[in-house]
């Protein structure tokens, strides 16, 4: 690790001020940041500990739920309100990482976790995300945990989160705060960027800006499922995952929100998939169509080609389950 200063402020404004510099980073759980710092993939010269800012509460409000940024993945998954009203979120969290990691990893950090692309992790190889302009070793390298949706010629890195996938299906938004104390809310659909030519820029966070909370509106559907496919029974990243939030009315799909992990450069949601389903009667033909729409712009490589049929099959299975 590169040497760094560490501050542990107790005020939000101080934390944002401390972290305003070019090479400063917030740290809460640290499960991803310290991992990357040890490999010098991340090299901040300053860390601001945000664990003392009181951002670790979960509150119910008129719109839904406000989840503090430093609420741990464990606490969030176990929260009875979440288990009752937003079960897809609990399920997604419980499908991710390990018990130990969930006890440390936080809500804000999970949203910002970096890709698991092995070339991003390897400072001896080219990676446009880690070293802009250096190239992408993954394009002609070994692919498996890479994206097929939202990719570019510069980057096929996958967003690895489970939690964020459920949050996208739940129409979550993030609450941000900057050094001036300015606060804003951004829907997750507008929070992440596609890699394009600048894969190093993953979100629309501004310098010094901190995620202070995630807002979950009341769930649009009572039928919620999270299904994850992985290479072993537990403790592995998703090959494909699907979060589904549905409401049925009179035998038809009244509300559909599908989000996907293991496929996209960001936690993936495709409004056209949802639109296709809404108002329709569940059928195999409809589910097949949803799969076709989802994959219409997929860009596959040798190592990721399997994700198209796998993604479609899992989507179909989830839709069958959730509409049954």
């Amino acid at each position: 690790m590169r040497p760094f200063d560490l501050t542990r402020p107790e005020e939000l404004s101080a934390a944002c001020r401390d972290t305003n510099g070019e090479n400063a980073a917030f740290i809460a759980g640290g499960t991803n940041l310290i991992d990357l710092m040890k490999l010098e993939v991340e090299t901040p010269g300053h860390l601001t500990d945000i664990s003392r800012l009181g951002l670790d509460g979960i509150e119910t409000d008129a719109q839904g739920l406000r989840i503090g940024a430093t609420v741990t993945n464990s606490d969030l998954a176990a929260d009875t309100r979440v288990r009752e009203g937003w079960p897809v979120l609990s399920r997604a969290l419980l499908a991710g990482a390990s018990g130990q990691l969930r006890n440390k990893a936080t809500t804000g950090g999970n949203l910002l976790q970096r890709t698991r692309c092995p070339y991003f992790y390897d400072t001896d190889t080219a990676c446009n995300k880690r070293a802009p302009g250096s190239g992408c070793a993954a394009l002609k390298g070994e692919q498996r945990n890479h994206a097929i949706l939202g990719t570019s010629d510069h980057c096929i890195a996958l967003h690895p989160s489970d939690m964020a996938v459920a949050m996208r299906a739940l129409d979550a938004s993030v609450e941000l705060c900057d050094a001036e104390g300015e606060s804003r809310r951004v829907g997750l659909e507008k929070f992440y960027r596609l890699p394009g030519k600048t894969p190093e820029r993953e979100t629309h966070l501004r310098p010094g800006e901190l995620i202070t909370a995630v807002h979950l509106p009341k769930a649009g559907g009572d039928r919620q499922v999270y299904r994850k496919v992985r290479d072993r029974a537990s403790y592995a990243f998703a090959l494909v995952s699907v979060a589904a939030v549905l409401r049925m009315k009179g035998g038809r799909i009244a509300h559909a929100a599908l989000a996907f992990g293991g496929l996209g450069t960001q936690p993936w949601r495709d409004p056209e998939v949802d639109a296709l389903l809404e108002g329709e009667t569940p059928s195999q033909a409809l589910f097949d169509k949803a799969g076709e729409v989802l994959m219409r712009d997929a860009v596959v490589h040798e190592g990721t080609a399997f994700k198209v049929p796998l993604g479609k099959r899992v989507l179909t299975a989830v839709l069958k389950e959730v509409t049954a």
């Binding site: 542990r8 991992d35 018990g99 130990q100 029974a233």
Partner: protein, 166 residues
């Protein structure tokens, strides 16, 4: 950076490089080498300790971020006599090389606490029902602790026996 760590009931005042992980503080600075370093990246669980009542990977945590925290390591689980859980690990041969064992035991302790708080897991039928320490629940919840000797059957038997006994 000045850091106070309360480990197994004793307070330690350390002056550490900010980069020192909780794991290295325990092993190299406090000579509590019972906590093991298997991967140093949160991928194997050998470094599991209980911090603030929760099991965590001490390798992915900076010592400075635990200033003032209560830490329990494997050394803190027994004095002259082994704890029930430790004895069960011996009786069920829940170890071979022994390197992952302290992490397995600390993880099991933390996990049993989570079970008793009613936390569901990935394999729980429902999110609202009671959770019991079944073999399947234990296996899922202990999957953050790799064992290359593959003592999972003995580990699970030891944990089941301890859970049923308490």
């Amino acid at each position: 950076m000045k850091v106070t760590l309360n480990v197994n009931g004793a307070s330690h005042w350390l002056d550490l490089d900010t980069r020192v992980t909780l794991l290295d503080a325990l092993r190299d600075h406090l000579k509590l080498t019972g906590t093991k370093k298997g991967c140093d990246h949160g991928q194997c669980g050998a470094c599991t300790v209980i911090a603030g009542g929760r099991r965590i990977n001490s390798c992915l945590s900076l010592a400075a971020l635990h200033d003032g925290d209560e830490i329990t390591t494997v050394e803190g689980l027994s004095d002259d006599e082994l704890s029930d859980l430790q004895s069960a690990f011996v009786a069920h041969d829940g170890m071979q090389c022994g390197y992952c064992t302290p992490g397995q035991i600390c993880s099991a302790l933390g996990m049993l606490g989570e079970l008793s708080e009613g936390w569901p897991s990935h394999v729980s039928e429902t999110l609202d029902g009671p959770v019991r320490p079944t073999r399947e629940e234990i296996a899922e919840r202990m999957s953050g602790n790799l064992c290359r000797c593959s003592c999972y059957p003995g580990i699970n038997a030891a944990i089941l026996e301890t859970a049923e006994g308490s």
